[in-house]
């Protein structure tokens, strides 16, 4: 057991934090709410040059052999200032899918430019009908067609779908669940950019009989891909938790600061016991979220699927219970000013709300945990 961050990890955290406070304060996120892409290629390029994007990959892929924990550190720091660049979509979900299941050529084509900050990815698995069961159900079909295939169906609310160079798409193919890499500029790919509650963008993507060649199939269709998508879902959920830690921490800090400075009835309102106790409860939920998320981040790399599921679901549950409690109470304790769009605290509420539904919500994770055989046995 070793729960100490390494020197490298501490340095990584500092570098990211410095970069964020210099290059991407919260005002930048707010400005990008008006942007049709929602993020900036120049900043992404910078991140690539700083080496962060490669950090969580094996050395063979040009990475630093990092663990998921490294990605979690980056995501948490980006979350603190709501930095909108598509790190999770490119590096954690679609990126890891390529790293885990792609062949060398595929990694060269689609992953390498990402690590350099020159391209981005999206993981397109959610559909109007499959809710969070993305590994278990795909209405999108991949049908054999001559030497290749054609892809038909619609994916919804695809994170970074509006901007990704390459989409990793789940589909029901001849051999079962199949993961397909699709360049976004291909014929038959129709993208519609949609606005999301957190001021970002996503895409609804239709594949209208898009032609797919065999070399665009990532990994082995069938059980292997089911396991892969299940794993990617956990990676995405763990990343959502890591980001929620950053979001929750800042919402908490802003609230404590407000309690110390806002004066009503001639005293700082933080002197009132009921609000003090609420703030302590926020602290508690925040610490539990931080702890559960660290456990998830460490277990998500493990081979024991059951332990991975349980640790990730426990963290996602705590996001829904504790992370949201922090966000809701942050608004409540800010009072009227917290309801105005001009104050930043509302942005944290909205991002927390979005993180709550990404990669499985409270009910889905609770049900999954409850059905794990290991839960009964423990």
């Amino acid at each position: 057991m070793d729960l100490q961050y390494t020197e490298e990890q501490l340095m990584l955290r500092n570098t990211v934090a410095d970069f964020v406070s210099r290059e991407s304060p919260i005002s930048r996120a707010r400005k990008l709410h008006e942007d049709e892409t929602g993020w900036e290629a120049a900043v992404w390029k910078q991140m690539g040059e700083l080496g962060w994007l490669a950090f969580p990959f094996a050395e063979s892929l040009g990475g630093f052999g990092g663990q998921f924990v490294d990605a979690a550190i980056i995501v948490e720091e980006l979350g603190k200032a709501l930095v909108p660049e598509p790190f999770v979509a490119s590096i954690v979900t679609a990126g890891q899918a390529l790293a885990l299941a792609g062949n060398e050529q595929q990694q060269q084509n689609w992953l390498a430019p990402v690590l350099a900050g020159e391209a981005t990815l999206a993981f397109a698995a959610s559909e109007a009908d499959n809710r969070y069961h993305i590994a278990e159900r795909a209405g999108t079909t991949l049908d054999a067609n001559g030497n290749g295939y054609i892809l038909t169906g619609e994916k919804v609310w695809v994170d970074n779908g509006q901007a990704a160079d390459t989409l990793l798409v789940t589909a029901s193919g001849p051999d079962g669940l199949t993961l397909v890499a699709v360049e976004a500029d291909r014929d038959g790919v129709e993208r519609r950019t949609v606005k999301t509650i957190d001021g970002r963008r996503a895409a609804i993507i239709r594949f209208n009989g898009t032609p797919i060649s065999a070399d665009h199939i990532v990994g082995n269709p069938g059980d292997d891909t089911v396991a892969l998508v299940d794993r990617v879902r956990d990676l995405g959920a763990a990343a959502a938790c890591a980001e929620a830690v950053g979001v929750s921490q800042v919402a908490f800090d802003m609230t404590v600061e407000y309690l110390k400075t806002r004066v009503q009835f001639d005293v700082p309102i933080g002197a009132f016991q009921a609000l003090q106790h609420r703030a302590v409860d926020m602290f508690i939920e925040n610490e539990l979220l931080r702890a559960a998320t660290l456990a998830a981040a460490l277990r998500v790399d493990e081979d024991d699927v059951s332990e991975r599921h349980m640790a990730v679901s426990a963290a996602k549950k705590q996001l829904a219970v504790g992370g949201k409690f922090v966000a809701y109470q942050a608004i409540q304790l800010h009072g009227g000013i917290g309801i105005t769009e001009e104050h930043d605290i509302g942005l944290y509420l909205k991002r927390m709300q979005a993180l709550g539904v990404l990669f499985g919500d409270e009910a889905w994770h609770e049900a999954r945990y409850a059905d794990e055989p290991a839960f009964q046995a423990r």
Binding site: K195, T196, I197, L349, A363
Partner: protein, 399 residues
């Protein structure tokens, strides 16, 4: 004792239902069924339709042009309006300043203001909060200098809900700074077209300009627009608070939210071939909220029964604000959860989700305000602890 309505009351319910069926214009009906979200124009259109019928002020006595409904009729009326998804009218004139004018106004004030509140010719808003006077309302600073026959008002009000649509604003202003802070406050009615009044709408976290900052710069307000005694405005503010507490409000919107929640669940796939409405565990979460709604509704019904019997509502009326707003937020939260990824939707045109789901995210965000405004739930608890439970007060000093 009997929980069912009398035949006369059931007849009245039929009458209300038939009226709505007949009088609601198709474009409003369509929105009522689909999104439940209305523009101010549509709200005022509905206001005028109700006015024509004589039902725009169910709770006003007939002598002032109200419908003169008794408490049970008001409950039925509210429930039917909610079930039909009819637009909710602006409360500032009808439910807030109107009753205050009836109680504290001069005959001239009643004649001047009440008919236009009823007809909808004049829309009102509320000027209470200031940047540094929220929960501690009595520390307000917006100043009205007495110039003999008029006041000159200077200062700022904030979180003025829908101030941009209002013709008049009722304000708490400071007319004396010498004594205890509660003692130098007056209640002024201000025409928003008066020179020096500036309204700056601002966005809320719901993404709509529901609030305004309202600025007053040397605004002249004639003395006849002083409601109640000079420096006696705090009494009116407290009366309004008491009145707010006992408004039936709450059950109507809650009932509509619950119905929408169920309708939305029936259109949300569970990812396993059914809808969320078929999922036993979703049903139990929704049932838990509806069961609490029932308890809350019964508190309201008991209070109506007291009013019917000509008695003042009991102290349990105080809990309506806390219970109603908290439950409303929980319904919003479950509705968001129910929608799954569709809960990410934010003002997409053309729409990215079914009509019923379109405004849920915006309302979810904006409704975080319900536990803050009208006296935050923390302030409500302070008041109840003291007034209802008689718990001692801690004398404290700034440290």
């Amino acid at each position: 004792m009997d929980l069912s309505f009398t035949p006369e009351q059931e007849t009245f319910r039929e009458e209300v239902r038939a009226f709505i069926q007949e009088a609601m214009p198709p474009h409003i009906r369509e929105k009522a069924e689909k999104s439940g979200q209305f523009t101010m124009d549509e709200i005022m259109e509905w206001h005028r339709i109700l006015y024509k019928k004589g039902w725009v002020a169910p709770h006003w006595p007939k002598e002032y042009g109200g419908a003169g409904f008794d408490a049970a009729q008001r409950f039925i009326f509210t429930e039917e309006m909610a079930l039909a998804g009819a637009p909710g009218l602006s409360p500032f004139g009808l439910s807030m300043v109107g009753p205050l004018i009836m109680h504290f106004g001069t005959p001239a004030q009643k004649e001047r203001f009440l008919p236009k509140i009823l007809s909808g010719e004049e829309v009102w808003c509320q000027g209470y909060s200031e940047p540094n006077a929220g929960s501690d309302l009595a520390s307000l600073k917006c100043k009205a200098e007495d110039k003999g026959d008029h006041f000159v008002v200077n200062g700022q009000k904030t979180w003025t809900t829908y101030g941009q649509y209002a013709d008049w604003i009722f304000c708490l202003v400071r007319t004396d700074s010498s004594g205890k802070k509660q003692e130098g406050i007056s209640f002024l009615l201000i025409d928003m077209k008066t020179p020096g009044v500036k309204v700056v709408p601002m966005l809320t976290i719901g993404g709509t300009p529901a609030f305004c900052d309202t600025y007053f710069e040397d605004v002249e307000v004639p003395k006849e627009n002083l409601l109640g005694p000079q420096n006696g405005g705090w009494t009116l503010a407290k009366a309004l608070l008491g009145h707010e507490r006992t408004m039936i409000g709450g059950t109507g919107p809650l009932l509509r939210s619950l119905n929408n929640l169920k309708r939305i669940a029936a259109e949300c796939p569970d990812g396993q071939g059914q809808t969320l409405a078929d999922d036993p565990s979703w049903r139990r979460r929704a049932a838990a909220l509806e069961m609490r709604y029932r308890a809350h509704e019964m508190v309201v019904l008991k209070q109506i029964a007291e009013q019917q019997a000509g008695r003042q509502p009991g102290p349990e009326a105080s809990i309506m604000k806390i219970v109603g707003t908290t439950l409303g937020q929980q319904i919003d939260e479950l509705t968001m959860d129910t929608m799954g990824l569709n809960s990410l939707n934010w003002f997409n045109d053309p729409p990215a989700v079914p009509p019923l789901q379109e405004w849920v995210g915006s309302n979810f965000c904006y409704n975080r305000a319900t536990t803050i405004f009208g006296g935050s739930n923390e302030i409500q608890r302070n008041i109840m602890a003291k007034m209802l439970l008689g718990l001692p007060t801690l004398k404290f000093q700034a440290s």
